[in-house]
């Protein structure tokens, strides 16, 4: 058996200790600073939760790999530190060992892929609306070329990015900027596009981001099971005011949504007729 590592005059275990302490401090600090510091945000939607779970699984595997590499590295640095009178065995390789870790690494990569496939459908494909969704809001779609949500159960909103604002087109013709209002427990599918440069739609607590590109339509979805206000901002650099291109999603009860959207429609119509009147007045 090998003797215990000789820490005598070696200051170099410091190296290991310091890095570990530093990372631990970083993690503790991060945990204090924000509750969800070591995994992505997740909130009231299943796809965000699934992404979070998937992340945590892979992170655990990855942390294992990091621990293994650090362990072997720091152990070697301490245990095999140069000592007088010792010479290193001149080993040039070991085929079984090398094959072993090649197969091991491949197996891990395959495992990660398989785990991903396991969660993929739940994240990618829109789920049907829940029982709390009002029947009336279950089959609404904005005028887009995109296919409607599964079984027509849900609402479809068209999201367009422009410098430096998000615009939402609702099924009944109403639209709004920056704040999107959606009903709870209802599948909301988004068709995302851009009127100018590339933007990216992202509300961290509701799920992943999707880029908005001019001339192309991108799709994502979410179904929030709780009401609340969820913040996000444009995630693709889009110009000088990129940092101020905010978005909020207001998840409300389905009947509140119904009231809001009717009111919004009226407001939009009023504003439009006002504009038409003024245009006539000023001979536009």
């Amino acid at each position: 058996m090998w003797p215990l590592p000789n820490f005598g005059r070696a200051r170099w275990p410091l190296f290991a200790v310091l890095l570990l302490v530093l990372s631990a401090a970083g993690l503790v600090f991060a945990t204090v600073a924000g509750a969800d510091a070591i995994s992505p945000e997740s909130g009231p939607t299943d796809n965000a939760k699934d992404i979070d779970t998937l992340y945590k699984i892979v992170f655990a595997l990855g942390a294992g790999v990091i621990a293994l590499v650090w362990g072997v590295l720091f152990y070697s640095l301490v245990r095999f530190r140069a000592r007088r009178g010792r010479t290193a065995p001149q080993i040039r390789g070991n085929t079984p060992v090398e094959l072993g870790w090649t197969i091991g690494a491949s197996a891990l990569a395959i495992a990660v892929a398989v785990i991903t496939f396991f969660y993929l459908d739940n994240i990618r494909d829109p789920a049907p609306s829940g029982p709390a969704a009002l029947a009336s809001v279950r089959d609404q779609s904005a005028v887009t070329d995109q296919p409607p949500p599964p079984d027509d159960k849900g609402i479809q909103i068209k999201v367009s990015g422009q410098q430096f604002l998000w615009r939402y087109q609702y099924p009944n013709g109403a639209f709004s900027f920056v704040d999107m209002v959606v009903p709870r427990d209802t599948t909301v599918t988004l068709s995302i596009t851009s009127n100018d440069v590339a933007h990216s739609w992202w509300i961290p607590k509701l799920g992943g981001k999707m880029d908005a590109l001019r001339g192309l339509t991108n799709e994502t979805w979410f179904k929030a099971d709780k009401t609340g206000i969820f913040q996000g901002q444009c995630a693709e650099f889009c110009g000088v005011n990129h940092a101020y291109m905010y978005a909020r999603v207001l998840v409300v009860e389905p009947d509140q949504y119904q009231q809001w959207i009717e009111k919004q429609k009226k407001l939009v119509q009023q504003a439009q007729s006002q504009v038409l009147k003024q245009r006539k007045q000023f001979g536009g």
């Binding site: 890095l19 600090f29 924000g34 070591i38 990569a109 992943g208 981001k209 001019r214 995630a235």
Partner: protein, 568 residues
């Protein structure tokens, strides 16, 4: 019919060699430097140029960190901030990391393979001149309006309708010049490595650093020539009414992203493979043990390069793509992890049961391994596209890429600097200052970039010049800003170390580390023609053989009966 001439052919066909037919008159001072065709001088010019740009890029980073050091800060406005991150990325990638490996390769390729110069010495000089010119073009834009579209220059933001200033054109022209410089350098390395190796140095005895430079060069030819085409399309769109990226006229903004990342991902490996090569040279020397699995390490290098050409769309997982395409790019990206992991394990196995000497180059290599594995794991996490939808374009990605490019490549570059500086200057770098620099860099680096993972996961996108007090981003950013200054201090200490050592460093002698490769067979610094006699290579560690045969000869002489020297 074999005539005597033909029969003599293979025997007389010798490998190309530089033959000296007389000495050109040496020009004085700086003229000698800027007109030299000596690969070592060009290498040193490359070092000065690239480290100069490294400092510029570093200052740009610090300015950004000051801005992000507190929430709602107004130190820099959105425009200046976006110019800074564009210049920072462009400088670090095109003017530091890629050409600094050309600096190492210029200095070391002929020495390590036992040649007297590069295959095309004048072309070599041209490469350096083009680099200087390209860098100058980029930085002249400071006097009008620097580019502000990020180093990725996504169309249509980089198009003339959204970015009408000429800084974007300067960026394009600059990248063309630097790209040409890089391609010419790569051609030179490929020709030199394939044709000018010392007798007996088969591919399987070639130093692993040379392996990585060879593959780096092939990747450059694949990737940078593709970039040249992409840049030209943008140039045409901006200035000559082209519509490659305009969806209203049959173009597509997605085309830019595909073309750019087709270059961009191999570029990542262009920036990291030679650092792998440095590790594969340094670790065996200080572990006093041959590299574990030479062939596996060389093969893994080639495998990484090959797979890296098929992973580009993992930078674009959130663009409109079918699930099948997403899965393809996820699988190829996961596949890269395998050969990369093999390399890590081989280095660890090289240290295992070694007799490890804690000199500065080895310390930087150890930090490289510890940090790069973090970047590798976050890379795997990012390869999973549903997870990437949460993480892409956030500070998580910023942290990931800096763990690979700073914690990896830049630490590898520092290892290389501390390892080969004695060869280049004839003087050792100070151990005390070196250790101080090392610790400042390790602490500073991790303090800067570790919290950025969390900032990204808490919702902080990349390339924002401001964040609010809500959202809990403040703590991460303050830590990061403090870290960045510690890191900068660490780099500064190494610079002081270099200056001090050039003045009065301890003389190193030809082979201070008892290393394995041929560059240590020459004096430090090497003479202009490198080798008086080019040794015949019998293994992958020729200096070990040479030392052994010298020892045997010395021992043999000691055993011989002493004959008195004839007195004159």
């Amino acid at each position: 019919m074999a005539t005597p001439e033909h029969a003599a052919g293979p025997l007389t066909a010798r490998r190309p060699e530089i033959s000296v037919r007389g000495f050109p008159a040496r020009r004085a001072g700086w003229i000698d430097w800027v007109t030299t065709t000596d690969h070592k001088k060009i290498g040193i010019l490359y070092f000065f140029t690239t480290f100069f740009f490294f400092l510029l890029g570093g200052v740009e980073a610090l300015l950004m960190r000051i801005q992000l050091g507190s929430p709602d800060n107004t130190f820099l406005d959105g425009e200046t901030y976006s110019q800074l991150f564009t210049m920072h990325g462009t400088t670090m990638i095109f003017l530091f990391v890629v050409p600094v490996f050309a600096a190492f390769a210029n200095y070391l390729v002929p020495l390590m393979i036992g040649a007297r110069d590069m295959a095309f010495p004048r072309l070599n000089m041209l490469s350096w001149w083009l680099l200087v010119l390209g860098g100058t073009v980029l930085y002249t834009s400071l006097f009008f309006s620097p580019p502000a579209s990020g180093w990725t220059a996504y169309a249509p933001l980089s198009d003339d309708s959204f970015m009408p200033t000429h800084g974007m054109d300067a960026w394009i022209v600059s990248l063309h010049l630097v790209g040409l410089s890089t391609i010419l350098g790569a051609i030179n390395f490929i020709v030199t490595i394939h044709n000018m190796r010392a007798p007996g140095m088969s591919l399987s005895r070639m130093p692993l650093f040379i392996w990585t430079i060879l593959i780096y060069s092939y990747l450059i030819i694949l990737a940078i020539s593709s970039l040249a085409g992409t840049l030209t399309m943008l140039l045409v769109d901006r200035n000559f009414g082209g519509t490659f990226f305009d969806p209203n006229q049959g173009g597509s903004p997605l085309l830019w992203q595909h073309l750019f990342w087709f270059f961009g991902h191999p570029e990542v490996y262009i920036m990291v493979l030679p650092a792998f090569g440095i590790l594969s040279e340094v670790i065996p020397v200080f572990a006093r043990k041959p590299i574990f699995g030479y062939k596996a390490v060389a093969t893994a290098t080639a495998a990484i390069a090959f797979v890296s050409a098929f992973v580009w769309a993992h930078h674009m997982f959130s663009t409109p793509m079918s699930t099948a395409v997403l899965i393809f790019f996820m699988l190829t990206s996961l596949a890269v992890a395998v050969p990369t992991g093999i390399k890590l394990f081989n280095w660890l196995a090289t240290m295992w049961r070694g007799n490890i000497e804690f000199r500065l180059p080895l310390m930087f290599c150890a930090a490289f391994i510890a940090q790069f594995v973090v970047g590798g794991v976050t890379g795997v996490i990012l390869a999973i596209f549903p997870v990437d939808w949460q993480l892409t374009d956030t500070y998580f990605v910023v942290a990931h890429m800096h763990y690979v490019l700073f914690g990896g490549s830049a630490f590898g570059i520092m290892a290389g600097l501390y390892y080969w500086f004695p060869k280049m200057s004839g003087r050792m770098l100070g151990e005390g200052l070196g250790k101080l620099s090392f610790w400042l860099m390790v602490i500073g680096f991790n303090l800067t970039f570790l919290p950025q993972h969390s900032a990204g996961m808490s919702g902080m996108p990349r390339r924002v010049n401001e964040y609010s007090t809500h959202g809990g981003l403040e703590g991460y950013n303050i830590a990061s800003t403090i870290g960045s200054f510690v890191l900068a201090l660490g780099v500064l200490v190494t610079l002081i170390n270099v200056v001090q050592s050039l003045r009065n460093g301890r003389p190193s002698g030809p082979d201070p580390w008892k290393a394995n490769t041929l560059e240590w067979f020459t004096t430090s610094p090497p003479p202009e023609h490198n080798f008086d006699v080019i040794p015949t290579v019998r293994s992958a560690e020729p200096m070990k053989d040479i030392r052994r045969s010298v020892q045997q000869r010395v021992r043999g002489r000691a055993e011989e009966p002493q004959t008195p020297e004839p007195v004159a």
